[in-house]
């Protein structure tokens, strides 16, 4: 998988740096028993709610009222899960979310790379000001524009359409910022100049030089965007109501509200809603960790 390979490289950098650094005197000691003990507690706390989700989701619905509480998984997960998908169009919601997250991710990655390239390596009047604007908008909580945004969607007739959640997410200031930083460090100016001398058009340079070199950074951005879009809640809640058009977060909230009498089912739905991201995380978690740590150094 090309993406994974690219990610591998992205993640490799900070690790390489860390590995390469010789550890001399430092305010830290060696990892001892206490270190592992502390980390074990932290990991347990970190994983417990997920475990609990599965425990409740795999028992029958009377399990939650048992004293002492049931703390081991039961045999009913598949039964509960099938009730979820038969009671509400939950699979449809998962599919909708996948569509939305994929479209948003593709768009964010493409436009961010394009704009990031322009900001990192092209000369044009207003570059500084415009980039400053982008940095400034990063701290603007644009979600707060939901009232007019809702009015716009009503006007466009997009209420209950997936594009209502896709279109506002097509670009992010963070994406442009991230790609600009990445391209600045990953694409040597000389390479571009050589290409210019050879008569490449700007887009040609972008496509043949920048895109390949920016792949690792773009992949990390893509992962973040995908996860973030998957977990979006407030705006989809406002603009989507038709049960067949919901994203999974909204569907989950509705399930929790309306089917409180079947908590095993609600929790099975909760498990289903986090499962796709967990799978992605297990496969690419190393790269996500690398991305976050590298991003921390750039931001």
């Amino acid at each position: 998988m090309a993406t994974a390979g690219a990610l591998e490289r992205a993640a490799a950098r900070p690790r390489a740096r860390a590995r390469g650094a010789k550890r001399g005197p430092r305010a830290v000691g060696r990892a001892g028993l206490r270190t592992y003990g502390l980390l074990a507690v932290a990991v347990a706390l970190s994983l417990f709610p997920l475990y609990w989700m599965f425990v409740v989701g795999s028992n029958d619905s009377s399990a939650i009222s048992r004293v002492p509480p049931t703390v081991v998984p039961g045999p009913n997960f598949l039964r509960n899960a099938s009730r979820v998908v038969h009671t509400v169009p939950f699979l449809r919601s998962l599919l909708n979310t996948a569509i939305v997250a994929t479209a948003v991710t593709a768009s964010v990655v493409f436009f961010s790379t394009l704009a990031g390239f322009a900001f990192a390596r092209l000369q044009f009047r207003g570059r500084g000001v415009l980039f400053l604007l982008i940095v400034a908008t990063m701290i603007v909580p644009v979600q707060l524009g939901i009232i007019p945004q809702f009015m716009i969607m009503v006007r466009l007739g997009w209420v209950d359409r997936l594009q209502a959640v896709i279109v506002p997410g097509l670009v992010t200031a963070f994406g442009v910022f991230w790609m600009r930083q990445y391209i600045s460090s990953a694409v040597p100016q000389e390479l571009l100049e050589a290409g210019r001398v050879d008569g490449c058009s700007t887009f040609r340079l972008f496509w043949s030089v920048v895109v390949p070199a920016a792949r690792p950074g773009a992949a990390v951005l893509g992962l973040f965007t995908f996860m973030q879009t998957w977990n979006d809640f407030l705006w989809p809640l406002v603009v989507l109501r038709d049960p067949n058009r919901l994203t999974v977060q909204v569907a989950l909230q509705g399930l929790n509200e309306a089917y409180f009498e079947d908590y095993g089912m609600v929790m099975a739905g909760t498990v289903l809603s986090v499962l796709p991201l967990l799978v992605i995380f297990v496969l690419l978690g190393r790269q996500i960790v690398g991305g976050i740590m590298e991003g921390a150094l750039k931001g």
């Binding site: 305010a27 909580p141 524009g145 058009s201 496509w207 407030l234 977060q249 960790v289 740590m293």
Partner: protein
């Protein structure tokens, strides 16, 4: 998926020098000049156009809407600043404001302290299974807020919650987590902390590991003690990372919405508790806008929240500057 395509379609950068072949001439020259002059704008245009339409415009228009009595069918009356006057006189607003700040502080301060501590632990030399620990701590962050809120709400249940079961078996009394101001804020803060502590720990860890070794060596040569190393080298070098995490948690924390909504869970979830003891500004905004359909009033709430967050972020930055210059 087009991400794959973007990634797939590569070519060795300079494999085909000359591109479309030598065709010198004035026409080509003008074209290429045009290309150089216009391309940058074309490349940044999609961002600015889309952002203007779906980011900037709604935010500005929110201010406009907030000056009206405006209902969902679009009938509107100009009322100037009346919505803001009403808001300042509305006890629900002040309660929501108090709760928002309280939950934000209760979740952010221990969270960042804990993250710093975890980063310190993760930074130990010769730690085995590094990747496993890092991933395990980051898992909560990929779990959606709604799922987190559902699970924690069940854990903090009054009669059948796990936490109360443990408290009772320890001989302590049950706590009605939803009933009190502090208890409900603690429960909600726990959700936020669970989701973000690992993420912040990784940020700090990255910052810790990027501190150049020479700084420590130089300090040791100067005879610095362990504590002085921490005080003189580690903390100052971590400052940008801390500022970053504080800003991120300010922007996110002050907009907290899903957690209190799901935590209530009853028929009137958008109230944020019977006495609004955990209603937040974002929840109040949603209630006014999409339950009561008072768009003008809700827009006023949104605008106030917007200004509040901006001020808080700027304040964060200023405080950090101040600390830096004081050093």
């Amino acid at each position: 998926m087009s991400l794959g395509q973007v990634v797939e379609r590569t070519g060795s950068p300079l494999a085909r020098p000359g591109g479309s072949g030598p065709r010198p001439g004035r026409r080509r020259l003008t074209l290429s000049r045009l290309d150089v002059a216009v391309s940058p704008y074309l490349y940044v245009a999609p961002f600015f156009l889309l952002f203007a339409a779906f980011g900037l415009f709604p935010i500005l228009y929110t201010a406009f809407v907030s000056l009206h009595r405006w209902d969902i069918i679009g009938s509107r009356t100009w009322i100037g600043l009346q919505n803001y006057r009403d808001l300042l006189a509305d006890p629900r607003f002040w309660i929501a404001l108090r709760n928002t700040f309280s939950i934000w502080v209760l979740s952010t301060v221990p969270q960042l302290a804990l993250a710093l501590f975890l980063a310190h632990v993760l930074d130990r030399r010769f730690l085995r299974a590094k990747t496993f620990f890092r991933m395990a701590l980051l898992v909560p962050n990929v779990t959606s807020v709604v799922a987190v809120a559902i699970v924690f709400t069940s854990i903090f249940g009054l009669h059948f919650g796990l936490v109360n079961y443990v408290l009772e078996s320890l001989g302590l009394g049950r706590i009605d987590w939803k009933a009190g101001v502090l208890s409900s804020h603690l429960a909600i803060s726990a959700m936020v902390m669970w989701r973000w502590t690992g993420y912040n720990a990784l940020i700090y860890l990255a910052a810790l590991q990027s501190i150049p070794q020479e700084l420590y060596e130089a300090a040791v040569i100067d005879g610095a003690s362990h504590f002085q190393l921490l005080r003189r080298v580690t903390v100052p070098m971590l400052r940008p990372a801390i500022l970053f995490t504080v800003v991120v948690s300010t922007i996110g924390g002050l907009q907290i919405f899903a957690e209190p909504l799901v935590f209530d869970g009853g028929q009137y979830a958008y109230r944020g508790g019977t006495g609004r003891q955990y209603s937040t500004l974002a929840l109040f905004l949603y209630e006014q806008g999409f339950r009561s359909f008072k768009f003008g009033y809700a827009a006023a709430v949104a605008w106030v929240l917007f200004v509040l967050i901006s001020v808080m972020v700027v304040l964060n930055v200023l405080v950090f500057r101040r600390i830096r210059s004081a050093d």
